[in-house]
């Protein structure tokens, strides 16, 4: 990082901006650290107590938790340090917030080579309400897997697909929601950006992540099925405050039938899109990579049942990055973040301003706009025999990696 700073010949304004945004990011998070949410009271606090009551690490042998083991290792670490648990927990996830911001900045630097945009991305990511609300206010941990997904994309941008899938595997070991953007990695393979064996990292790291918990005594099959068990929870409504199609159709109508149908619908939609994107011959630029991440991140949660408001986290990250790479799309980021944060506040503050069904229409429009853009890109790129469009001179196609 120091090399980077020296190389960029940063001036006082740059340093002040970075320092100022960092300070503001810390202050905002510190100001929210004492908020106690339902999730803390119902889940994290009892789980932390369970470590004390059930013999420390050996507690992982029991079934008091339904999150993936790597997250539990972090909780175990928090349980043994002599710091207020909630402060320690929020401190850990907020640290990841800063890692997220730095990684985002590195991606922007690699794509644009623009210092202002790079530092701007760092500062803005720190200030996005969904991010600091997720960690400092809500005591959630979505930032952890998002960091690793972001690192995976960073490695693709750097043409290191092997490392990319290692990071993606780590992300998957933390959270099942990582699968929302899995189609993008399949497209990367279809476009020769990675090899089939790279995908083996995903199950390998998942199994590796389970190992300590298995050694502690939790049955292997229970650990394997943790994500399956997660999918069977919170099924009392078709949408858990995410602004998706079920807010328009009714979150309680045909609960059982729409749950199954919704999965088949999104699988069909993904199949149709994947068929089209693999069928056509074109190359993918780094901007298009970001756009695909946003598109699939929003599309999957739009049709999947039982989506929580926090499940748009990945889309939140990548849509902001997209806005920095292509400022013409900044309005999409603005609209989406407003929707995303509004859904957060509906849960946290029980604050209902506009019916979620209208937010769902906004999200639908965003998805359509992105879809059109991707379609036009594929058509234009295919017709021009993969020549680089004039206004994308800086953003070259991602060539095949060396690993």
């Amino acid at each position: 990082m120091m090399k980077f700073l020296k190389k960029q010949k940063m001036d006082a304004i740059d340093l002040c901006f970075l320092a100022g945004m960092t300070l503001l990011g810390v202050i905002i998070r510190v100001s929210l650290r004492k908020v106690v949410t339902e999730d803390w009271v119902m889940y994290w606090e009892p789980w932390l107590n369970a470590f004390h009551e059930l013999g420390g690490f050996k507690a992982l042998a029991t079934d008091f938790y339904d999150y993936a083991p790597p997250f539990m290792y972090i909780l175990y670490f928090i349980s043994i340090i002599p710091v207020n648990p909630m402060t320690a927990y929020k401190g850990v996830v907020c640290t990841f917030d800063f890692i997220l911001a730095i990684t985002a900045a590195r991606i922007i630097w690699n794509i644009t080579g623009n210092k202002t945009k790079t530092f701007g991305a760092y500062g803005v990511i720190l200030m996005i309400p969904t991010f600091f609300a997720n960690s400092a206010l809500w005591a959630q941990c979505d930032v952890i897997y998002a960091v690793f997904v972001l690192l995976a994309i960073y490695e693709i941008v750097k043409k290191r697909p092997n490392r990319s899938m290692i990071f993606y595997g780590i992300a998957f070991a933390f959270k099942l929601q990582t699968l929302f953007v899995f189609p993008v990695f399949l497209i990367m393979w279809a476009k020769n950006k990675m090899k089939i064996q790279h995908f083996l990292w995903v199950p390998a790291i998942y199994l590796l992540g389970m190992l300590p918990a298995w050694i502690a005594g939790r049955p292997f099959m229970e650990l394997i099925n943790i994500y399956v068990a997660q999918g069977q929870q919170d099924v009392y409504a078709l949408s858990l405050k995410w602004a998706n199609i079920y807010q328009v159709l009714g979150i309680g109508t045909f609960l059982y039938e729409y749950t199954e149908a919704g999965i088949w619908i999104i699988l069909s939609i993904l199949l149709i899109l994947m068929f089209y994107m693999v069928y056509k011959k074109y190359d993918i630029t780094r901007e298009m990579l970001l756009e695909l991440m946003v598109f699939y991140g929003l599309l999957t949660i739009y049709f999947l049942p039982h989506m929580h408001e926090r499940y748009a986290y990945l889309a939140d990250v990548f849509i902001v990055l997209l806005a920095f790479v292509n400022p013409k799309k900044a309005y999409l980021a603005l609209a989406h973040i407003i929707v995303s944060f509004s859904t957060y506040m509906m849960y946290i503050a029980k604050n209902f301003t506009i019916p979620l069904s209208y937010y769902a229409i906004v999200e639908f429009v965003i998805i359509v706009i992105l879809g059109i853009d991707i379609y036009q890109y594929i058509q234009a790129n295919e017709k021009k025999n993969q020549a680089v469009p004039k206004d994308e001179k800086k953003d070259q196609p991602i060539s095949q990696g060396g690993e």
Binding site: V248, T253, S268
Partner: protein, 407 residues
């Protein structure tokens, strides 16, 4: 060893090369040539479509439990088509024939059997849509994608697999009619259109299209006489089993529109904007007269224009009428947009700039379905009505531009 290392360093990988070659491998199925990717896609999407339908088969809709099921049991009790003489059915006569045939099946669930039959028609519909798409685009990928999209279109799935409704049979016949009309074969075109109207009276909304075909010389007046002839022939089993001719005719012309207390039942049309509860009898007559006047103006204008009725223009007209008519006709139900959903998808395939039409219309259409299923709406029907009006205007504008371009 050196060779292996150099291959690795160049990025080549046997498994990747094998898989990528497999994807592009051509497979001949008779005259048809598909790549492995296309074949796998078709098989998997068909499987997904089956699973999607089976996930909602268990839904017993109000229409099934209140109407179809009692009628099936009535037929079973009578064990003959004579039950048709009973004044228990308020639906199109051919539907009763199908229900009668279902009642003859021993064992199993009647609802499941009905839904399976209707779902089979879904696949035929998807195939025909793909066939039409190929006719318009000559593109294999667009043909395949059209098939896939129609198969998983929410309104198509819900209408047959959830609701046990017969729109799909009518839609299949309309597409067949369209295919024959495009091939300049008026007799089969009118035959299938007539069958479509027999299953769903709302299909009369496409009658202006056939008047246009007549105006353009693609259909002669004698072809149009097939309509009443085929209709009367279809009444014969019912007539022989005691149903009166008057009833058969009334059911054919008006279908199952029995609820005349409200000007629109969940379809977001003009009555959502001006009010659907007041002056029901008066406004229903006025709206029909207004619609006739609109059609008269349209046809007067078209008669003064010299233009060629190209396949795409014909499709545009079909879509326009399927949007316009339910918008102004009274007593429209939630499923009134079914035909427009299908035509909009094919239209967007033929003219990709019009992608927004099926996206918007299917969204509105399924919201209307949900209004029926859940008994309430989460998006204002008035807002949807305005959006639908915009679609009518946009498609109308496209026709206007096409007709004027075709000088």
């Amino acid at each position: 060893m050196k060779k292996r290392i150099s291959r690795y360093r160049r990025g080549e990988n046997r498994m990747d090369i094998f898989l990528k070659n497999l994807i592009d491998k051509k497979i001949k199925l008779g005259k048809l040539s598909l790549t492995f990717l296309e074949l796998v896609f078709l098989l998997v999407i068909t499987l997904f479509a089956v699973m999607l339908r089976s996930s909602v088969f268990s839904v017993a809709s109000g229409d099934y439990t209140s109407y179809f099921e009692p009628w099936i049991f009535q037929f079973k009790a009578w064990d003959s088509l004579l039950a048709i003489s009973e004044d228990v059915s308020i639906t199109n006569i051919p539907i009763l024939y199908i229900l009668y045939l279902i009642s003859k099946v021993q064992g199993g669930s009647f609802m499941l059997l009905l839904k399976v039959i209707l779902s089979v028609f879904d696949f035929i519909l998807a195939f025909l849509a793909g066939y039409l798409a190929y006719g318009f685009t000559k593109s294999k990928s667009k043909t395949i994608l059209t098939y896939a999209v129609i198969l998983v279109l929410p309104t198509v799935v819900a209408s047959s697999a959830m609701w046990s409704q017969f729109e799909v049979i009518s839609a299949v016949c309309v597409l067949l009619s369209f295919c024959f009309a495009l091939k300049d074969k008026p007799y089969p075109a009118i035959l299938f259109y007539t069958i479509a109207t027999l299953f769903l009276s709302l299909t009369f909304m496409l009658l202006p299209l056939y008047l246009l075909l007549w105006m353009k010389g693609k259909v002669q007046i004698q072809h149009l006489f097939l309509l009443p002839v085929i209709a009367v022939i279809s009444f014969i089993p019912a007539l022989l089993n005691g149903r009166s001719f008057k009833e058969c005719t009334l059911l054919y012309l008006s279908g199952s529109f029995t609820d005349k207390t409200i000007l629109t039942r969940n379809w977001p049309n003009i009555f959502e904007i001006i009010g659907k509860d007041a002056l029901v009898a008066e406004l229903s007559k006025v709206s029909i007269l207004l619609l006739i006047a609109m059609l008269a103006c349209i046809f007067y204008y078209l008669s003064r224009k010299k233009f060629e009725l190209t396949p795409v223009l014909m499709l545009r007209f079909a879509l326009f009428f399927s949007l316009l008519m339910p918008f102004f006709l009274p007593y429209m139900q939630e499923r009134s947009g079914y035909m427009a959903d299908i035509l909009a998808v094919i239209y967007a395939v033929a003219d990709k700039k019009k992608f927004y039409i099926p996206l918007t219309h299917v969204f509105i259409s399924y919201t209307a379905y949900s209004a029926y299923f859940s008994g309430e709406t989460y998006v204002s029907m008035r807002v949807l009505a305005y959006i639908l009006l915009a679609l009518v205007v946009l498609v109308g504008k496209d026709i206007f531009l096409s007709v004027n371009k075709e000088k």
